[in-house]
């Protein structure tokens, strides 16, 4: 089960990447190769196996609702590629996410 060029293009939008025609070609073949290798897992019987999302069995790590110190605004905005005195600036947002 390889991946098609169209799928790769769709995924590139979902992941907000922009692949040129050459890159797209190469990505399609490399992803296909890698995903094929992943199918090695299909031979493993995972019936009744609990997924393991964390390496540790920790639970209930909570903190108190005590206010701390926020950054001064100029520090918060210091790394912004584009800003005004108060806000981060981005190209006009259209519609909902």
């Amino acid at each position: 089960m390889s991946i098609s060029r169209e799928e790769v293009e769709k995924v590139s939008l979902l992941g907000r990447l922009l692949l040129g025609p050459g890159e797209l070609e190469k990505m399609t073949s490399q992803m296909g190769q890698i995903l094929d290798y992943m199918h090695l897992l299909s031979e493993v019987d995972t019936e009744n196996v609990e997924p393991m999302a964390h390496a540790l069995d920790l639970t209930n790590v909570l903190r108190d609702d005590t206010p701390g110190v926020s950054l001064p605004r100029d520090e918060a905005l210091a790394a912004a590629p584009h800003r005004d005195d108060e806000c981060f600036l981005v190209p006009a947002v259209l519609g909902d996410p």
């Binding site: 907000r16 990447l17 922009l18 992803m31 299909s42 493993v44 196996v49 997924p51 390496a55 790394a79």
Partner: protein, 513 residues
């Protein structure tokens, strides 16, 4: 022995007894960097003035009889992905080329508090993705043993800086072998502690459930020293574990009695270089000579580690790296050029009358994201974002991500069973010694397969360590990997120390021209 050739533990003794000063050590390290780093390129940036000033300050304090921290003025190199307040933290990426975090990582804070002299930032594969340092946006790092070869990765700069005697201690991070593998390729020691042993706060995330900061050094004692400083629970990291940090440096000289070492049958199959196998087997004989028993055992799911790892890690990475979109910090594409590009594309589509494509044309915000990320990320990072995005997307989640999480559990269970029979698992770090630069750049899968022996420890969350155990006929270092149950770093360190009392592989250094 010269300052640069000494271990951190030896240097600390000299500092404490007044035979040398932090400034002398820092100066010696800086001199070595000056002499050799133009060729090796272990460092992205060296903080010459900052290091010397800090060293002088610590010396003054020591001279005045005031308290000095645990690292007492020793230089430490830091992989360029630990956030350091006000200083560039690039992660080897164009995306963060000029990024200066407004805060310190917990490990950085601990190093400062222990009076480490932060001498510079080491090169790495971009966002810690890679095993050769060829994925750094800022150029290759060369293996000090053979400049035509890679140093390993992703903490390649960290390992190379030690092998080239530029620093006595280095901090790296290990997500699938990124400390252990370059340590093995460069003939130094490196540890991946148990997941949760060291705070990840301020470590720029690659794959959050696998990432762990680890120490690199030239002796087991040095690793013990550095681990003692950086380990411990942290209220800023929910996944760190609040349990006491043993005094690794105190127990390290005590040999392990009745040590049971396991060799994983599946590790010694196809693909393992004969010289590597011989060196690892020889190392187990050393342990036998020290009274350990060595037995074979099976970890049937080990062969799935690479596939499992290369699903889970990219999935987490695709999400962790979503924040690099040019909106709040980091690189942003040239918006004027972008507007021109979009207008041209719109015009072209209007002319062809393809209304479907016209409709689907990115709006300026989405195009800003896409161009920013296309420019800011290198090929390997893009590949992993693509794989992770795909594997998490609707219709594929169960087949890839969920399946991988289940196999991950089986891998962990293999370990649990193994550690009922043995105290430590010994084996190779990587299938071969360091390979040539460029050898695998166009074969990502071949590169991934290098993680066969290291990725499982991250998946299982256990502790692992790489120790020099031989040299190939070509004069390249070979690493022995020891793995221990969770929070048994002390056992690893004692075992490594035993080995180093009986062998001298860890003292071998490359000839630097």
């Amino acid at each position: 022995m010269s300052l640069i050739e000494s271990t951190a533990t030896e240097l600390l003794g000299q500092l404490q007894s007044g035979r040398t000063t932090a400034v002398e050590i820092a100066a010696a390290c800086l001199k070595q960097i000056d002499r050799h780093d133009a060729k090796i390129k272990a460092f992205l940036r060296v903080d010459r003035d900052g290091a010397l000033a800090r060293a002088a300050e610590i010396d003054a304090r020591r001279k005045a009889g005031k308290p000095v921290g645990r690292l007492g003025g020793l230089p430490v190199a830091v992989k360029d992905l630990l956030c350091t307040k006000g200083q560039r933290t690039t992660c080897g990426s164009r995306m963060l080329e000029n990024f200066r975090p407004p805060y310190d990582a917990t490990v950085i804070a601990k190093l400062r508090a222990a009076d480490a002299v932060l001498i510079g930032r080491t090169n790495m594969d971009e966002f810690a993705m890679g095993g050769s340092n060829e994925n750094s946006a800022f150029g290759l790092t060369h293996n000090p043993w053979d400049l035509t070869r890679i140093p390993g990765g992703s903490s390649g700069g960290a390992a190379a800086s030690l092998a080239a005697s530029m620093v006595p201690l280095s901090v790296g991070s290990d997500t699938g072998g990124s400390v252990r593998q370059p340590a093995g390729f460069c003939g130094v020691l490196g540890m991946k502690p148990t997941y949760g042993r060291v705070s990840r706060y301020g470590l720029v995330a690659f794959a959050s459930s696998l990432d762990q900061i680890g120490p690199l050094g030239r002796s087991a004692e040095d690793i013990a020293l550095l681990l003692e400083v950086i380990a411990g629970g942290d209220p800023l990291d929910s996944t760190s574990v609040d349990r006491p940090v043993p005094k690794y440096t105190e127990s390290i000289a005590r040999p392990l009695e009745n040590l049971r070492i396991g060799l994983v049958r599946e590790h010694f199959g196809e693909g393992l270089d004969a010289e590597v196998e011989a060196a690892v087997r020889e190392a187990t004989r050393v342990y036998q000579s020290l009274g350990a028993t060595v037995s074979e055992l099976s970890m049937p799911h080990g062969k799935y580690a690479v596939a499992t790892y290369y699903i889970i890690a990219p999935c987490e990475a695709s999400s962790n790296l979503a924040r690099y979109d040019g909106a709040h910090y980091g690189h942003r594409t040239d918006e004027k050029a972008m507007a021109v590009e979009l207008a041209a594309q719109r015009k072209a589509l209007q002319q062809t009358g393809d209304s479907r494509k016209l409709e689907a044309l990115d709006n300026p915000l989405i195009r800003m994201y896409r161009r920013t990320r296309a420019e800011g990320f290198g090929a390997e990072v893009k590949r992993r974002i693509m794989i992770g995005t795909y594997a998490l997307s609707a219709g594929y989640y169960d087949a890839y991500y969920l399946k991988a999480l289940k196999v991950r559990r089986l891998i962990r269970q293999d370990y649990d069973r193994a550690f009922e029979q043995v105290d430590l698992i010994a084996g190779p770090v990587a299938p071969t010694p360091a390979f040539e630069i460029g050898e695998k750049v166009d074969d990502p899968l071949a590169m991934y397969l290098l993680d066969l022996y290291t990725a499982s420890a991250n998946l299982a969350g256990i502790a692992g360590m790489s120790i020099p155990c031989g040299l190939s006929t070509g004069g390249l270092p070979i690493g022995l990997q020891l793995q221990a149950p969770p929070f048994e770093e002390e056992r690893l360190l004692r075992a490594a120390h035993m080995f180093q009392q009986a062998t001298d592989w860890h003292t071998r250094r490359p000839e630097l021209s």
